[in-house]
Amino acid sequence: MRQFIESVKIALAALWANKLRTTLTLIGMIIGVATIIAIVSLITGMNQYVAAEIDQLGATTFIVDKEGIITSEETWWERMKRKKLTVEDMNEVAAGCQGCEYVGGREMTMRKVKAGNRYVNDVFIMGSTANYPQIVNFEIEQGHYPTEADNEHRRPVAFIGYDIIDELFPGMSHIGKTITISGQEYSVIGNGKRRGSTLGNSHDNYVIIPLSTFEKQFGQRRSLDIFVKARSFEGIASAQDEVRMTMRARHKLKYADADDFEIFTAGDIMSMWENFSRGAFIVMIGISSISLIVGGIVIMNIMLVSVTERTREIGIRKAIGARKASVMWQFLSEALTLSVLGGAVGILGGIAVGQGLSALSGIPMGIEIWSIVAGILVSGGIGTVFGVYPAMKAARLDPIEALRYE
């Protein structure tokens, strides 16, 4: 141990004396470890984000819609040709489902929203049923959500998000004020809690109006997304079966026909995300292992140069009694010091890159202790593996020849 500390001190002094060479030597190692740290941090952050989104949707909620989760261009083209889902479908589903606590629906479009001479572009305009907040854990701050009666009477009432308040009614009250969407006036009846943004997308950039009002103003050609909250977590599957039966009957599908609509849960979105992040991990391992191997080879090379340059030193050490193992250990601990130093810089670099990307993209970032430990272990392992050959070469030098080396 004492000898190890001694060796590390010698190694650090040698590395410090050759700062430029050290930096160049360590670039591969730094990139490799930084890649691990940055990607693990971002994926961890994304996991937290996805988990939060799914939490929002709720564990007992599932969605019935025309497209489902699109994973390829072909499925998109195919699913675009399907029959759209309608308010009648929603009502039949609600009527024929014992396991469903709530059945609601929503349609969306993007419009410009005005109030007086102020306006906001590209606002999500959503028409929804009155039970939507119960289905997706939506939190109301002031006023109320469009009611059953608002829906029935197609009232022009609007429930707005904080971006609209900030832009159209800065520093003043908004309840009861009028906003205009595509020429139609709406009266503001409430607003949701501020939710912030992720991935650069604001979650407060919305205006919600009754579904019937939406269809009256924007037409009925859009397909309805039906949101269902099952009575219990265990009951999700049977509730989904009931919904599927109703929809297949309405679309007059034969026994052998596949569904022409999609049913999915938050869990399905989660597993899709997990597939994606698994892919990202594989890419990461690819990138980082290439740079780590390159880094290892560079370290081996620099250690071989070092052994040659210090042949005489090795001869001196052997002449005064250094055993093979001592010399081996000295050079191995230099390689180890070098690579772990690279690993440490890589960890700091990876955290910095992760934080930078996180700031740019809005993806939250989570630093995982295990990835830091892995970074140190991997860089140390690489240093050891690639340091063995040069260290062995040093240890095997003949003392007389080494002393004679010029």
Partner: protein, 230 residues
């Protein structure tokens, strides 16, 4: 008897041709002796020194150091002997260029597990013995040739070895500095150390109390040195 060699041969294989650097060297050295090995360049002095110093093993023959048979030892056993029993002084000093005088002198102690405190203590004492107490923190390039050789001598002493070996220790020094260095060896001898020096200079050999002449890998003759009085 400290050293006893019998019929030592060292043969190098030079591209199929055998080169006999030593051809049957037999001699003994007692504890406390001061021996000079003299001979022309290429006569095998360094080869013999390397065998005595356990840096190398003979091709043939036996070598006993302090009663132990050395000729058949493996690398690590030889390293142990070099560390414990032998102090080397080289013509080219062979100090670690980036290390201080103190650290250079400490080095042999690092390889036998001496604790840091004792190490520094012993190294300081060795440097005092060669009158370099005030240069401990200097690196070799901050020292004169004579001072460097004194650091090397301190390093050879620090482990209190049975034997101090010096291969042309004054070869890289001017005459005046050479005389100073030989004075240091004199003092060490008076303090009870056994010393063997290799030289091709007649004047230098005269410091020893026994001179062994070698030529073509064989002992030619022996004489006693007319050890100069101070």
């Amino acid at each position: 008897m400290l050293i006893k060699t019998e019929n030592l041969w060292k043969t190098y294989n030079m591209g199929g041709e055998e080169l006999h650097a030593l051809r049957g060297v037999t001699f003994c050295i007692d504890k406390g002796e001061y021996v000079a090995i003299m001979g022309p360049s290429g006569s095998g002095k360094s080869t013999l020194m390397n065998l005595i110093g356990c840096l190398d093993t003979p091709s043939k023959g036996t070598y006993q150091l302090n009663g132990r048979q050395v000729a058949s030892m493996n690398d690590d056993e030889l390293a142990f002997i070099r560390n414990k029993e032998i102090g080397f002084v080289f013509q080219t000093f062979n100090l670690l260029p980036r290390a201080t005088a103190l650290h250079n002198v400490e080095l042999p102690l690092i390889y036998n597990g001496t604790t840091a405190e004792t190490r520094i203590d012993l190294a300081k004492r060795a440097l005092e013995m060669v009158d370099l107490a005030d240069r401990m923190m200097h690196r070799p390039n901050q020292l004169s040739g004579g001072q460097r050789q004194r650091v090397a001598i301190a390093r050879a002493l620090v482990n209190n070895p049975s034997l101090i070996l010096a291969d042309e220790p004054t070869g890289n020094l001017d005459t005046k500095t050479g005389v100073e260095i030989m004075g240091v060896f004199d003092r060490l001898h008076e303090a009870g150390n056994t010393i063997i020096i290799v030289t091709h200079e007649h004047d230098v050999a005269q410091y020893a109390n026994r001179i062994v002449h070698i030529r073509d890998g064989q002992i030619e003759r022996e004489e006693s040195g007319r050890k100069r009085a101070a």
